[in-house]
Amino acid sequence: MQKILAHASKLILVVLTTVSLFSCSKEEDLSNLDDTLFVRHKNADMPAYIMGNATEKVFLITLHGGPGDLGLGFRGTAFSEIERHYAVVYFDQRGSGMSQGSYSENELSLDIMAEDVLALVTVMKRKYGYDSRFFLLGHSWGGTLGTATLLKDQSDFKGWIEIDGANSPARLYDQYIETFTTTANTQIALGNSVDFWESVLDFVSEIDPVSNKDGFLELNNKAFDLEKRLEEDGFLNSPEEGDNIIYNYNILTAIWNSGQIAYILVDEQCIFQTTDFSGRLSEITIPSLFISGEYDMIVPKISAEIAFENIGSDIKELIIYERSGHAPLASEPQRFAEDVLRFMDRNK
């Protein structure tokens, strides 16, 4: 009995020691940050993973797509290069990734999520100093959220980088129909996968021309098929696999969270039918960089072109990546890193 108790207490001691070792905060080295902190705001606790070189206190805050994707999903060749120069803040938005909390569905809205991003900036300033400088980057749905954030308060940001961003998702419905039709006709004229593209034209002809949720979801799903076909036919580079982040998330939790938030925002609140910032883009006056893939079918490049035309910034740039679809950061990572770093260098 005593022997067993002694063994059991040894085992518990080993476990507790191991746990305490792992939970000890790391010594902060600003040139190579690897920090995790949580932002508590309006009943949600959201993790921010801060990585890279913060010696200049320049932080690139990233907003993932989805809604419901993973903050660390950006990591890969392009962001490794960016991290060598500046610190990158990967943020799991409310209800996404490893975010947790306890709130009602009413507390899950674009407006509150934009406030969350501003809360993150407040925390970053408190943690790293009020002389810190911030850039905001949004991909896809992150483009919607980033635009909403900047329209709330852009004073803390040195620049806005929108990657295939859905800054006015209510317009996507018509843009899908137009882009699918144009792309299909071009590909048929080139003699590429003619049967497939003819079936795309049939699909488009059967879609209700008046924007509606079900039609939108059908078009959105179809967009992935189109991009896949363009990739197979050699029009765009295969996106590189990102860093292995599978162990950074409990994948079951992340998948469940993603389903929940997508259901509430997309199905219940019809956020992609009701959100249109195109009339307010002129209010955004900070330096802005728009990057889009030539063959982006999920958020067609016309969205970036309209945003570029209407943004209120004096310093603005639009770059179309010829060998990319919806993920230029993964299809043309080296060029992407260079363009982002150049923009940050100029405007920091």
Partner: protein, 215 residues
């Protein structure tokens, strides 16, 4: 046809389908077992790995107190088979973390009832229902923002109601201090979590101990 002849088929059917009749009556016998009154005799302690292997890993400590026990004997083609059925009051305390990140660490406790069947070879099947459960997450450095104010949170984390259900198999070691081993699949619901509830699946592999046993 006489009345006797008319009644015969009816009587036959009645006898044939009467569940208490003849051979059928012997098919199932149920007998309550005498249980020791000693607390330590009736209590087993358990320690187990608990986690999802790839992400969360942790330790689960618990105790089971034997509440009721009975044998059920059934006649089968290959003879009589007696299984022991037990109802146990159950309590657990556990810790879980993702060693790769600091975003999924928590302590939990739950209480409930376990039903366990043990065959003559000591093989066990159990269902453990813990309706009273609590999970407390522990977060790394956390700052709370309220308007323009930002404050560092002391002991950050959140509490969730966390009932659980485990289904598992095991092996009994009669008369031994390490009185058995088990493998469970555990399902826990954390609620309210975000704007709904979070289902969590874990595997548990561990050992039971009865410190009153001799060996």
């Amino acid at each position: 046809m006489t009345i006797k002849q008319q009644l015969l088929p009816t009587l036959f059917l009645l006898f044939y389908f009467n569940p208490g009749h003849g051979q059928n009556k012997l098919k199932t016998e149920r007998a309550s077992n005498e249980i020791s009154t000693s607390f330590l005799d009736r209590t087993e302690f358990k320690v187990a790995y608990s986690g999802s292997i790839f992400w969360n890993n942790g330790l689960n400590l618990g105790a089971e107190y034997l509440w009721k026990e009975y044998n059920i004997t059934r006649n089968r083609k290959r003879g009589r088979r007696t299984n022991t059925h037990q109802f146990l009051l159950n309590g657990n305390l556990g810790f879980t973390t993702n060693f790769n990140t600091q975003t999924d660490t928590g302590l939990y406790t739950n209480f409930g009832l376990t039903w366990r069947r043990t065959n003559k070879k000591g093989r066990q099947f159990s269902i453990e229902l813990n309706p009273l459960g609590y999970y407390r997450s522990f977060l790394p450095e956390t700052y709370e923002v309220d308007g323009d104010r930002v404050n560092k949170v002391f002991l950050p984390g959140r509490g969730y109601y966390a009932p659980s259900l485990s289904v598992g198999i095991g092996k009994e070691r009669k008369g031994k201090i390490r009185s058995g081993s088990y493998f469970n699949v555990n399902f826990t619901l954390r609620t309210p979590y975000n704007a709904g509830a979070l289902p969590v699946f874990n595997l548990q592999y561990g050992f039971r101990f009865n410190f009153k046993k001799k060996k």
